[in-house]
Every structure is written in structure tokens, then in C-alpha cells.
């Protein structure tokens, strides 16, 4: 290690390598040293963890039993193929898709979107290879900002063009948060902004998905009535 640089320096007595081997690790900027420690405090899975799990499940069971005592599962009339209810709704977790079906042809909303979502979910862990979770706008800033603004602009225009305001709102929310992250000064005093600035791309993609999921599902479940028109849930 010492000769490689070719520089002159004095070896101190204490650094006799045969007696006390010295290891040098270079920590470059923005990476953290990773300590592999095996001596973190551990507890036994049995009984400590298993019992906690059992208590958690019991609390859940109590809540579900209470709900079941007070609220009955819906049961409508016998299935009748000749009589279509209006609106005919899928189960609630598919109502986000059904909401999209209202704007886009079935190949897009019913096939393309779910396929892409599943594929995206599968690749997400493979695609964020940096364990250090690099902030999206910290490296290669200029180019990434360009890509960010152009692609969010195109996406928003596209949603506007098809009149998909419901999907536009979460998109604009995500873009706004990303902009806050992008223009956070390095010496900011706000913890919130600093943490946003450190988020990688996968974080933004997933958060966008979460916002869309919540908004679309809520709209489809509570705010859509006959002919898929807007209704207010408290006035029906």
C-alpha cells in the first residue's frame, strides 16, 4: 500500500505490518461504509417473535369479528343475465382499472396497463441496483432534469388529451414532489426536503403508482354512479 503511490512518507513504528496488519478502506463521497456486523442483539424466534405474531393476529381477529357482528356481507337478488344493474361494478380492488376503462379502450386499460404494472413490480428490485439509493437528481443532473421535465410534460399532456383528470391529479402531485426534490439546495435545513432529494427513481415510480392506485380506486368505488357518471357518496 505504501509503495504504490511512490510518495515519501515516514513509517511510524506502530505500523509494523507483520505485528499489526493495517487495512485501509477508501470511502468515496456519497457512499457509506458498510459494516457487516454479526453481533447485533438478537432474540429467540420462539417464543418471543412467534408470541408477538400470535398477539398481532389475535388483535386482527378481534377487529374482524367485531366488524362481522355489526355489518352484514351484501347479498342481492338471484343472478339474472337479462337484467344488467347500472352501474355494474367489479370488486373494489379492480375499480381503479374500471375507472381507466372509462377513458381508454379495453386493450389499453384492461390488458396493457395491468401487464405493465406487474412487469414494473417484478423488475423494480433488479433495476435499483445501487444499494446506496442514489438521489435521482444528484448525478448527471442536467440531463436527468431535461428527461424529467420532458417526460412528465408529455405524460400530463397525454392524460389531458384523453380527459383523464382523475389520473392527472396524482401525476401532477408526483411531479410537484419530484420538482421539490430536484431543486432542493444542498445545504437545505429541512429534513423533509433533504430526504426527498435523496430518493432514487424507483421510489418515485412506486409512489406515483401508490397515488394513482388510491385515487382511482377511491373514485371508482365512491364517486361513480349510473352510466359511470359522477355521484357524491353521501347523497344517494
Amino acid at each position: 500500500m505504501s509503495d504504490a503511490t511512490g510518495k515519501d512518507f515516514v513509517a511510524v513504528v506502530a505500523s509494523d505490518q507483520r505485528k499489526a496488519p493495517v487495512r485501509v478502506a477508501f470511502v468515496t463521497r456519497r457512499t457509506s461504509a458498510q459494516v457487516k456486523s454479526q453481533d447485533e442483539e438478537v432474540i429467540q424466534a420462539f417464543p418471543e417473535v412467534l408470541f408477538r405474531a400470535a398477539i398481532a393476529v389475535q388483535l386482527l381477529a378481534i377487529v374482524l369479528v367485531l366488524i362481522s357482528l355489526f355489518f352484514n356481507a351484501p347479498l342481492e337478488g338471484l343472478a339474472d343475465p337479462s337484467h344488467t344493474p347500472n352501474p355494474a361494478k367489479a370488486p373494489w380492488y379492480f375499480l381503479g382499472l374500471q375507472e381507466l376503462l372509462h377513458y381508454f379502450p379495453p386493450v389499453v386499460a384492461g390488458v396493457l396497463v395491468p401487464t405493465l404494472v406487474v412487469l414494473a413490480l417484478i423488475v423494480i428490485p433488479y433495476f435499483n441496483i445501487n444499494v446506496e439509493a442514489e438521489g435521482l437528481f444528484l448525478k448527471d443532473r442536467k440531463r436527468r432534469l431535461q428527461i424529467f421535465w420532458v417526460s412528465s410534460g408529455v405524460l400530463c399532456l397525454f392524460l389531458l388529451l384523453f380527459d383523464v383528470i382523475v389520473a392527472l391529479v396524482p401525476t401532477v402531485m408526483t411531479v410537484a414532489l419530484m420538482a421539490v426534490a430536484a431543486y432542493t439546495p444542498a445545504n437545505t435545513s429541512s429534513n423533509f426536503r433533504r430526504s426527498l432529494a435523496g430518493k432514487p427513481l424507483s421510489f418515485w415510480v412506486m409512489s406515483w403508482f401508490l397515488f394513482e392506485l388510491v385515487v382511482l380506486t377511491a373514485v371508482g368505488t365512491f364517486f361513480r354512479g349510473p352510466g359511470w357518471s359522477w355521484v357524491l357518496p353521501w347523497r344517494s
Partner: protein, 259 residues
Amino acid sequence: MSVRVSKYFDALTETRAWRSVFRGGSGSSTLHRSMAIQQNIFLHLLSTKVRKRMISLNTTWYLGTLTLGTFGILVITGILLMLYYHPSAPQAYADTKDLQFVVSSGQFLRNLHRWSAHAMVFLVFAHMFRVFYRGAYRAPREFNWVIGVVLLLLTLLLSYTGYLLPWDQLAYWAITVGSNIASAVPVVGDRVRFLMLGGHFVNANALLRFYVLHCMVLPIAALFFVAIHFWRIRKDGGLYAHQKDAASVSNCDSGRPQL
């Protein structure tokens, strides 16, 4: 009283019959507690030791555990519901009505099954997002995340196939809406739909198919993948611990003492 009960229990765990069943033996030493996990075919999917801070509420929020809990409730209530249910149209509807009005506690059973199903779908999404925001999806846990995606799809399919079974208007039209989407798949769409429904529209064949999927195929598949999911948590070095806490990053299974 409780002292006497525990004395009898201790005596019981010393008997030959008990020892023949539970290989780990009794006792409360660390070794015995490890054996309780390690010597049990089901529990040995889990680690014998867990990092202490992983049990605090603010890590996993116990969401995976709770998802498994709902699954358990669903299996139990589901088996009981099966005792009263014929998967044929329109008998299925009559059976559901009987559950509501004739079978004792039938209404409660049905409610519990239904609300637990909703809870499971909600919890599985919540668990997924929680795992993501903890950063626990990264190497070496990528593949367990993929197993998780399979579990998410299985959960949705389980719920969806169950939705048809009451054979009421709600069920019928929800499945009709859903299965219409299948026919939008390019080229093979109509065939996929035909395969799924056993006909060109939702009818008695579809009910039978959904019943078989709901009560047999999908639960078994889910159980299978849950087993892999848990085993992978152990093999990937226990639950992910955030590295900012200057703790272990990845201690994959490599012959070291198992966490």
C-alpha cells in the same frame, strides 16, 4: 392454580409420547427454544433468531404477519362455508340465503369470510408498499419480492374467484365486467375468456370453475408460495435491517450461524 397447571404441563412434556412428537424436547434454555423452531417441519421455515429491533412496530408494521393471519381466518371460515354450499346454479344462491337465515351463525361465518377477504387484499397491498418503503426489496431479497408479486396476484385471484360464488346480481355482474376485459387480450382474448368461464358468458360452468379455483387450486398455490416466501426470508439473512443503523447489510446464508 396456574402453578399446578404448569406443573402438569411440564410433566406432560417429559412423557415419552410427547417427546416422540416434539423432537426439540422441553425446557426453556436457548438451545431448547432454538430447537422448537429448528426441529419442526413448519417452523423451520423461520429463523431461530431474529434481530431484536425487527420486532419493534415501526419496522414491518407486522403487515406480512397480519396478511397471513387473514389467510388463516379465511381458510377456517372457508372450510366451514363449504359444508353448506353447492357450486351449482341457482342452488348456490339458495345456499347463500340459507347461510344468512337458516344455518346457525351462518350469517356471521359469511360476514367474517367476506370482510377478512377484503382485509387480506388491503393488507397485501399495504405489506408490499411497506416492504418497498423500507427498502427491503433490494438484493439479496429481489427474488423474494418476485415471490411476493406472485402472492399478490394469487390473493387478487382468490378474492376475485370467491366473488362469484354467492351467485347474486352483485357477483354475476362483477365477474361479467371482469371477464369482458379478458376478451380484450389481442388474438387469444376470446379463447382465454372461454377457458376461464367454460362458455361464452358467465353461467353454471363458470361457477364450477371458479369454485374449483377458489377452494382448491389457488389456496394450495398460495400456501406453496407462502412457504417459499418465509423460507427465503431466512435464507436471505433474516428481515432486512436498515444499514443507516450501522448494522449488517447482507449476511446471506453462507454457513454462518443462521439468523
